[in-house]
Symmetry: D2
Subunit: 256 residues, 4 copies
């Protein structure tokens, strides 16, 4: 059996460095590259794509609300879905051009931060993101949360989806992530996170905070590289997966 | 005989409106669309491209230094040409994706403001812009000033060029525009500008402030839509060209 | 009897012009100057303050969420009130320094767009804005909507308030503005707006959409200068007030 | 005898962290706080000022060209000095308001990056910066390079100056810093840097790359906290100064 490991990358900006991209590229098979709206800039994007190409890691666009100060994490209400669509096309197009110039190929789109969170529970917003991806390239895969509106939107538009679970987060019974503000919502213990990941993969289901299970095909696991502990957690998860004989491969190669 | 009329467009931003784009789209055959770095935003870009498509006007990207406050007119020194290249790829890619999503086609690239001025006299910078265009699409045409480094760079990389003269500017003997700071450098009389344009087209040469002529194939004439007088000048020039039996057609259709 | 007329100003940016500031300065007694976060820049702020000084118009700061693209109109959720406080201090301090350098005096603070709307119904946010004003200068007056949280917060902190009604907007029974999205929420007829303003001033009460009245001391009337019709409405309102013998004076001079 | 140690601080932005501010505040007596134009934001500025207050470190404003992407290091040509003046007033005013709100006092102004470098050799630009400081508060001290235009401008306007040398840079015979692009222009050896600092202090003169000396009263030494080696160099310099019996005190306390 197989699974993908994905990580958000290219989130440095100008003189500012964020994330251990070089280290994470040794551990993951898929990189979601910031597009300059919450983080990243043309130089950072280019550098990240070239490093990913060298490491044999797939790259996708990681579009966001325009919000560098808030790192795309602030919910910005009331945008017209049509406007979101244009904003996302712009971002995917920019990153795709840099990928092609570097001789790499854009395989997918994953909405960042508040845009992703809001789209997960708002079909109109989810459709806007999916339409944007489809407008740029019908072969782009959407990274979605199983059972949420992003999945629904992508399927409705005939796009392929990569269903994602988070290694370090707990889930509510509705299939959404438990709010970061609740105690225990974020896992810090690498072995515990690895245990959870393996259990979800074996069950092909998400386990919620109440112990309920939500059946879900799991294509990719999101890991982070923001700090040394996060990198270490990714390393532990990868090692545990390999020990179990689970192959780590980019979903862009294995999805039909 | 034939010539193209081009105009910079899509330079509104958020609530701010700039330029009589709708009126100019009735007068010109080619639009250079701002890419969000000196002006424009994804919504403005999309709207401009769709209006151009409806009007049968060709669209190209109009990339710039990242400088919304200075409208891309401030010379920013010391950038690495490789960085300029990435910055321009990002911009062309973003606009191209919006053009394709709208069912239109990106035909060309014209550097804006300081980036254009600096590239005209700096081969490395000119090559950076040309490489960026070629990286996105080998068929993109570069709009250049005849005899300047931008023309040299495009030809060196095997790109097609559209040689441009400005309807409302005078020229120094080196083929460059007379500095805006010099008296008389900008023409305000529409008939006088039309006379000059017709004379340059007939001679296929640029007339300089000293009366010298620089032979140059002229493919396109740059007109402006920033204010009512500019729109009127464009109208007069178009009318005078048509009266002389000169067809106004997009260079993207006539260039080989 | 007396009343103040206030208008948002200084909302141009770089090459972009917005608002008929010069015309409005002949009609109003108080100007709320954008601080660079939703609109305005140091040059625009300075120019606006100097024009106001020449016209004998009082100036205040008009702080906003950091959102130039959305013109400060997008609700940005989840900010910590302490962070809002710092953000507003920064803005008031910047404008105050330019006012002092021009020999003018900052008299008040009025929150812009979404920040103002959200603070009107959120005491913590309202207190953050009021604390920011008090931290810069205890004598700053807060422009508030009568009966809303902004008024409560200012009074709680011992700040003076200028109670404001909008000339061109209708009110719900809770004293808040009717949503712009509802039909009829924005008045376009200048005479009708003037009638309403005079009725509210005479009654010293806000009339709501259901015909109910909410008693409220009215210190200032907000008018706009975004378009020719808005300027004309301001002109009509001013003329009608003067005809009724109501003196138009800045609240900063009349408030105790 | 006495000297001040100064360091640029508050250069983080949003989620991005830059500089070991907390460590440097134990070593230096004066902090130059970024104003949000090249780095810093209202939250970072507030936090930095409060940390400095707790550490007994003086704070000043560190204004810049508006250039977050380039970190204020890109030379932006052709600005009108009057515009620079307004831009700097805005920045000083913003930081001063946050300082006062925190119960701290703004003691000085030091231009950042390209603005500082360009002002050092351009009297008009230097005068613009000095006028801005004077407009906000006549008691603000200007940090200047001895013998350069910034010193001249400050003295011409009757402002006090703190003459600064750089611990890790070499000097040309004209008193300016050797270009970073020349080999050896930046010192990386902490002991060697400390030797140079002690020699310059003893001689009250700058030693140039040719061995010439330029007499100069030295009030403050600039050290950096961008990386662990820089922090270590600051530590060594401070220790060596103290060993020599030189008191480390803020120039704002010792200058008359």
């Amino acid at each position: 059996s197989k699974v993908d490991l994905n990580c958000d990358m290219g989130e440095s900006f100008g003189v500012y460095t964020l994330g251990a991209d070089a280290e994470m590229l040794k551990l993951v098979t898929t990189a979601n590259v910031a597009c300059g709206f919450h983080a990243g800039d043309p130089l950072v994007i280019d550098r990240t794509i070239r490093l990913a190409l060298d490491a044999g890691v797939a790259v996708g666009a990681h579009p966001s609300f325009l919000d560098p100060w808030g790192f795309g994490r602030r919910p910005i209400q009331g945008e017209d879905p049509g406007d979101i669509e244009r904003m996302v096309i712009y971002q995917i197009g920019a990153v795709r051009a840099l990928a092609e110039a570097a001789g790499h190929r854009l395989t997918h789109v994953k909405a960042h931060g508040s845009l992703g969170n809001m789209a997960a529970v708002d079909l109109d917003l989810a459709l806007a993101c999916a339409r944007a991806a489809r407008a740029v390239d019908r072969d782009l895969i959407l990274v979605v949360m199983p059972g949420m509106e992003t999945e629904r939107a992508a399927l409705q538009l005939g796009l392929r989806v990569a269903r994602e679970v988070f290694a370090d987060r707990t889930y509510d019974d509705n299939g959404n992530l438990t709010s970061r503000k609740k105690p225990g919502a974020v896992l810090h213990d690498a072995e515990m996170a690895a245990d959870r990941v393996l259990a979800m993969l074996e069950a092909q289901a998400i386990t919620t905070v109440t112990g309920a299970t939500i059946p879900a095909r799991i294509d990719t696991i999101c890991v982070h590289g923001d700090n040394p502990a996060a990198v270490e957690m990714a390393r532990v998860i990868r090692a545990r997966l390999e020990t179990q004989g689970i192959a780590i491969e980019p979903f862009s190669r294995t999805l039909r």
